[in-house]
């Protein structure tokens, strides 16, 4: 009888709890509100998020709350008293997701198929739990969809001109400003940031430049012509404004962006965004620069390791050289440039590079905006997904190896950096790509 009445009591309690997440279908960079209602005032509960990624790994996040006098918990307003995040964190359930105990090490969450949403299950459990969620029945659970593509955004694979790329067009007739989106040294065709930019009105092309089909077939790394071909696809597209094209690069992608922005005769950028990168690279007039950059960046002597044997590569380019032939002459840039750097970047000396004085000496300092984030690491990505302080990285070389790379960054500070820098990046792009006929000046007052 005791068991039966406990079950009835639990069922009765379960039936009362109302859990809602709004919006239930949102974009990846939109915030949601998680609301728990109809519990007793002072009730202790755990809000739990669960996600099974494309690789089949399970991720979880959780936080401990105490219901208010009206019997409710609002994650956006109430403080978490413990869990994978604490304090008032509206999106903590997303950015503090981590692989469940017992998972493989070195995982990094990246959505490769952007045409389907991320489906996260948000539940509420009685009491302040820290483990064993799988063995308990929650009081309530809902499913939330998180999308990289807004409705109407069109995904167009690009293979013309030997390119390995995907173009995302915003919905509508256009014409739209364009953007070339470059990731870093891991290669592959990574689409999610470009898809999100298209959801914000920018025709964005994600470009694979380290592992494209043409490199796989010929064994040769790409050169200027490859990026210029990609630029031309944007420039000549009937639904893209040829005079309003930007480039956005992260890590190695920054090296390419700066090289092209300054030295290409074909590529004329309206503005550029460079995240976690450096202008340090050998400038020798050759167009076969990708190959030479990869060699330049593989100086094994300067590789360090931390206590956990994670690879630290930031010293490879340190100290920032004074020799001008080892740096992109960014003083020659004629378009606004936004630099985003994490001060705890353990992979590239991005902060030190940003502080280098080349722009100032050339007298075009007014075109430069630097966003520098204390305790943020290397992988500054769009907000509300987890960041990894270290993860498994497969190098691009003739003998690829997988190493555990230290990216750096403290989770809370890193997530703040991602949220803030993304918002400001969108403003920067909006002002420069959608704004008046003159390219925008320094952005400080708008950001």
């Amino acid at each position: 009888f005791g068991l039966w009445s406990t079950k009835m009591f639990q069922e009765k309690k379960r039936c009362c709890v109302k859990l809602s997440v709004h919006p239930s279908r949102g974009l990846m960079d939109e915030k949601f509100t998680v609301l728990v209602q109809n519990v007793l005032p002072g009730f202790q509960l755990t809000v739990y998020a669960f996600y099974k990624c494309e690789g089949g790994y399970s991720w979880e996040a959780f936080a401990h709350y105490t219901a208010s006098a009206t019997g409710a918990v609002n994650v956006s307003e109430d403080p978490s008293r413990g869990g994978t995040y604490s304090g008032v964190e509206p999106m903590g359930l997303m950015w503090s997701l981590r692989p469940v105990p017992g998972s493989k090490s070195g995982l990094r969450m990246r959505k490769m198929n952007v045409q389907t949403p991320m489906e996260v299950t948000i539940s509420v459990y009685q009491g302040h739990l820290t483990e064993g969620f799988v063995d308990q029945v929650p009081l309530a659970a809902v499913v939330v969809e998180r999308w990289y593509m807004a409705p109407g955004v069109r995904r167009i694979p690009i293979t013309e001109g030997g390119l390995t790329a995907t173009l995302f067009l915003p919905s509508g007739p256009g014409p739209f400003p364009g953007l070339l989106d470059l990731w870093g040294g891991g290669g592959k065709l990574v689409e999610y940031r470009a898809a999100l930019l298209a959801s914000h009105g920018i025709a964005a092309m994600a470009l694979d430049y380290l592992t494209p089909q043409i490199t796989k077939e010929t064994g040769k790394m790409v050169d200027y012509e490859y990026f210029e071909a990609a630029y031309r696809v944007l420039e000549q597209h009937p639904q893209i404004l040829g005079s309003r094209i930007a480039m956005l690069g992260l890590s190695f992608g920054t090296s390419v962006t700066l090289r092209m922005a300054v030295y290409s005769q074909v590529i004329k950028l309206r503005c550029a965004v460079c995240i976690s990168g450096s202008h340090v690279q050998p400038i020798d007039g050759s167009h076969l620069f990708v190959f030479s950059l990869l060699s330049f960046f593989s100086n094994a002597d300067k590789t360090r390791f931390n206590e956990e044997q994670h690879v630290i590569w930031r010293d490879l380019l340190m100290p920032i050289p004074t020799d001008a032939s080892l740096k992109v002459d960014v003083g020659r840039l004629r378009c606004p440039l936004l630099l985003v750097v994490g001060e705890d970047d353990q992979n590239w000396p991005s902060y030190e590079s940003a502080m280098d004085e080349m722009m100032q000496r050339a007298g075009n300092e007014h075109l430069l905006t630097v966003l520098s984030y204390p305790n943020a690491g290397h992988l500054i990505e769009p907000p509300f997904t987890p960041s990894a302080r270290a993860s498994a990285f497969k190098t691009i070389s003739n003998t690829p190896q997988t190493v555990m790379v230290l990216w750096g960054g403290e989770p809370v500070a890193h997530s703040v950096a991602q949220e803030d820098s993304w918002r400001k990046t969108l403003v920067f792009l909006r002002v420069n790509l959608y704004g008046g006929s003159q390219p925008g000046a320094k952005m400080k007052n708008l950001l």
């Binding site: 379960r14 039936c15 409705p151 069109r154 919905s171 007739p173 009937p238």
Partner: protein
Amino acid sequence: MLRHARGSLWSVYFKTRVPDHRTGLRRWSSMHRAVPPVISVTPSRALVDETFRVAVQNLPPGSPVTLHSLHRSEDEDLWEAFGHYVSDSRGTVSVADDFSFGGTYTGKEAMGLLWSMSPVPGSREGLRLRKKNVCIPQLVNISVYGGHVEEGFGERLPLASTLTERWHLGPGVRRIEISERGVRGTLFIPPGPGPFPGMLDMWGGGGGLLEYRSALLASHGYASLALEYFTAGELKSADKEFSYFETAFNIVREHPQVIPDRVGLFGLSLGSLMASYLAAESSVIEPRCCVCVSGGHLYPRGANLQQLFRAYSSHSHKLRVDEHNREIWRSINLPIPEDLSQKLDVGKINCPMLLVNGIDDQNWPTVECAEDMAHMMRAAGKEHLLTRIEYPDAGHLIEPPYSPHSRATKFIKDGVTVILLWGGQTKPHADAQEDSWRNILAFLQKHLYCTQNPKAKM
């Protein structure tokens, strides 16, 4: 296939007008500003009963523009609405905050682009917008045109356009086809372990199986069974005994994820009459509460459905038609008979009842019935169970909010297609849908979800 279909929807809507490589866009862009305005709908994906904010930015200040909505229904008809606006000094228009000066709606109407939709000029007559496949969303195109445009949207290129998804089904809601114990329907279960309160959901005299309201109720936490009780268009063939409805109710009640003593009834029109019948007469089931939209209580005692329709048919000489030959059925059953044997014994009802009616209902004398029901329940000491809401200038088809209003639509009667007059004026009917749905959800929350803390917000 679905994803591809969605991605190519733009070209489907604007087949003749998307500039292509051959003609080139340069010609167009020289006619427009170099950089187009940006239109946004937030949230871009929402449930059909959620509001959105439509905004346009990057317009020249003080520009007259037209905001336009376009939807291609599952029947391939085009529906549209539009409002005339003027951008402010910053070059923005916000539908939720600004005034529409003309179009299919006027004034400050955040959702006017949805509820004021009607079939585009040249469409077939008597159309009604109803979602059949709830597993995919309703896609609505929202565009901004230069100037105050009244017509010919199909021949113009908008300045900007975006797509928004409107869903009846929330993420994680499960859809289960039911075909057991002779009962046909579709059961929708909310996400989570449950258990959940349940609902038996019945539509009206058009018949068939319509899932959209049950899908929406499940998205609000109710395990809801959309019941089919006769084939679409074959009202005369409806021969189900009341045991059919009682079995359907029990299918919900006995589901492992449903709280057995918290199952309600929801009916519209004929479905509402069925709900009232079950609440009053069934000795087998005990509904926890009952929502009756546009229904009545006129029912010869002891009759089955076949006999009910014969009784209605015997009054058909009282049928009127208006100047457009649209049938007005409300007078068929007026005046409300005094004879108790012609009416449900509503005094026997023991559960809370919410009656929602439109005062301009031309299909059924629902307000007169509600008045009489209140009288009968008062006489039986049951008045405290009854809540009545009546809306001026609302018609018969009071549906979930923001769906377009149709004053008259096609209906298959005795195998013949006629046009029935439902009544209602567009704006008051839209207000009635929005307000009644809010009241209905609050009523269901109160009676089907317990509230331990009386101070808890609903």
